[in-house]
Subunit: 448 residues, 2 copies
């Protein structure tokens, strides 16, 4: 049967969705709209090209425009959708008028939160997102001596590290007492802060942004800590869902501002799905809705939602949020939440932690790995984990998210077998030691 799916958005969510529709129904007509000049590039690589860890932007493109044509995915570039009409099953497209669909997928992604201070219209305020713009900004960076990064968000953390790595004097301004305070605990971030200092970063925590100063071009950032002269500002405020089209059409929006979806990624409007950063998804343990997840989540949601929009049947469930990123000279990561979030949510927990190593103590390249595990008192089921180290953080984060999801206890993790091979792993796996230490603490306290 003829079937047409319209997708608004060409990011990880939108392209995952396009693939999902085609997987369920290879005959389906799939039209993707994006405001950008490209799809199928990795925005996640941009900070690393700026930091010169990656040599050039061309490397970030995943597929050519022809490959999409071949795959039967009709991408309309630099084309804005201005409204959706779920009743009439149409979208209004700039330059195309009303376009009809059988199923619609919203993958409109995120915006950086408006800093909400004077001077927002000055030049040299850089919002990192579009790759063509990033290519232009990269040339600007060549003449930048001092930059200010606004907020130690995940992107702010990456950009601070990258700009410092590039040799730019970098200031980081954040209202919280430590970086990434909304997800990571202070003990996890302490080594990162130290390494930033070694790299010449000037961190301004507990510092409120008051405005951007300058004539035409930004020349300083005004903060509660005083003025910081600079040539460029990276505005890495936290992400907010771009759910405007959905809200205007009366779709249900959640408490975070994200579009509410069910396990099929279906919105409150029949035939309309939403995927990626424009949605909100419940946390697996707390059921608290989360917005602003990652590109990896957006892609997976896209595949599930796309499949359903194409007539298939896939579910996407609550999330346990493994995360990880390089930060300063370290790699940080975790799953679910840490102590700060647990405390803020009023969730009681016990802790097991260990300072371990990534290879045999004597093997060249061995690095420290700190693991902190949070468990529910009594049951000792894992409810969260945080780490700082180097090698193997991403793989451990993936595992620990599954451990939270499947309710592994400190006992399960303390009894876990592990590979010991000098070049790749230590006699004692840090996760096992952390769980064992957690049990020992409880025993000493007479609670086990």
């Amino acid at each position: 049967m003829p079937h047409k799916t319209v997708i608004v958005g060409g990011g990880a969510g939108g392209l995952g969705a396009a693939g999902g529709v085609k997987a369920a129904n290879p005959e389906a007509e799939v039209v993707v709209y994006t405001e950008f000049e490209d799809v199928a590039y990795s925005p996640c690589g941009i900070p690393y090209v700026h930091g010169k860890e990656i040599s050039d932007f061309e490397k970030l493109f995943l597929a050519t425009k022809e490959q999409y044509v071949k795959a039967g995915i009709d991408v309309h570039y630099e084309t804005t959708v201005t409204a959706i009409d779920p009743k009439g099953k149409t979208v209004t497209v700039e330059g195309e008028g009303r376009v009809s669909y059988d199923t619609l997928i919203l993958a409109t992604g995120f915006d950086y939160a408006d800093p909400g201070v004077p001077g927002g219209d000055l030049e040299n305020l850089y919002y990192v997102k579009n790759i063509r713009k990033a290519m232009e900004w990269d040339k600007v960076l060549d003449s930048v001596k001092t930059a200010v990064v606004i907020e130690a968000s995940p992107l702010g953390t990456e950009m601070t590290t990258s700009l410092a790595h590039r040799g730019i004097e970098t200031h980081l301004v954040d209202p919280n007492p430590w970086p990434l305070a909304e997800m990571a605990d202070p003990d996890i971030m302490a080594p990162v802060e130290e390494s930033w200092t070694e790299m010449g970063v000037k961190a301004h925590f507990n510092t409120t942004l008051k405005g951007f100063l300058g004539q035409g071009k930004v020349s300083a950032v005004d903060t509660s800590d005083g003025e910081i002269p600079c040539d460029l500002v990276v505005v890495a405020t936290h992400k907010v869902p771009n759910a405007r089209l959905a809200a205007d059409a009366g779709l249900k929006i959640g408490s975070t501002g994200g579009i509410i979806v069910d396990e099929r990624m279906a919105t409150s409007a029949p035939g309309v799905f939403a995927v990626g950063d424009c949605t909100e998804i419940p946390h697996g343990l707390t059921r608290v809705p989360l917005q602003g997840l990652t590109g990896s989540h957006a892609y997976a949601q896209g595949k599930a939602g796309g499949n359903n929009a194409g007539g298939g049947s896939r579910t996407y469930k609550a999330v346990y949020v493994p995360w990880g990123t390089p930060a300063g000279k370290w790699v940080i990561g975790g799953a679910s939440f840490g102590e700060t979030t647990a405390t803020a949510l009023g969730i009681p927990y016990v802790v097991g932690q260990a300072q371990g190593i990534s290879r045999a103590r004597y093997y060249p390249g061995v690095k420290p790995v700190k693991v902190k595990l949070l468990a529910e008192p009594g049951s000792l089921r894992l409810i969260g984990a945080q780490m700082v180290g180097q090698e193997g953080i991403k793989e451990r984060a993936d595992f620990l998210a599954m451990a939270v999801k499947f309710g592994f206890t400190f006992h399960d993790l303390a009894a876990m077998e592990n590979v010991y091979s000098p070049a790749i792993g230590a006699l004692n796996e840090p996760i096992v030691v952390a769980a064992t230490n957690g049990l020992d603490e409880l025993r000493k306290a007479g609670k086990l």
Copy 2:
């Protein structure tokens, strides 16, 4: 109450046990006997010193003799126990006579299987184990031009890689059609074989050892493939349990030749425990007893058995055997078993596999990661996994062993969230892709 535990063996099992006794009962008298000059060194590092990845042997020592004295662990070096008497609660010690104990722990480890061919008494046949001997052999290696490694066992695989890395012309002789055939599948080993060829290794598979030739010193190895002239032979035959003391005393010995123990690591004789490579432990899925596990298993068994011998209460359960090691220019690993073993045991399975990557496709240092998952038909519960790649193999192997233990299905693994951060992980986690591919195959075959 006064309590004395005697431990026979100063390897990973014996020292884990000494710590376990002290943890349960800090007042206990702990006496350790070892035939060697040292305890508390890592034999696992020896191949890498020979290969010059690690600069010197001193690095492999973990603790000084004084530290054991301080910890109240009385180690008798170069001292052989010649018999045990579980009824009389004594051991017979060379040079000390009968020594009594309250509890006894056997941690006598493994021997390399006797190659069982003529010429076994020639010089320059190297059995890698004792660190003092390894230090002497390392000097010999300086003048070795050609070496032959007997058997592509885990140690043989490491030694082949190390000797080639050191620049020695290395021959590998093995009766099976591919290396590590008892644990790894041929598709996993194919890249390893290729990389060995690049490193100048001459592999002789399907080749039977017939004898060692020479006058006083070995000068050639005689095989079904002809004579291989050489200056040195590394005898890396598979491990066999060293259970002689136990067998002589009438303790129950299992089908593999290992001492039979229960979940407390208790043997058939009251008050006598056994830990490490002298025991056999059931596989968690098949219940088939396994011998010759790893140093990591020996250490964990030691801690459990030692704790029980000291009056505590710990269990050590059936194993799911995560494993991993560098091999040639690759890292291989897995959990539970692969296709070869499953087929040999008559265990039906379905496969999901993927050729993935370790970082973003465009990030410097990205490496391929092949993941192969085996699941039980119908339930699709994971029963084994094998991998070849570089980064993150050890962490994935640890995770996959837990996935087997806890019965994760292809569905669970396909729905797994994963960290995407260009420098540390790809958009698609290879384990997730392997499980997804497995499901797709089943769907195509109409079996899902």
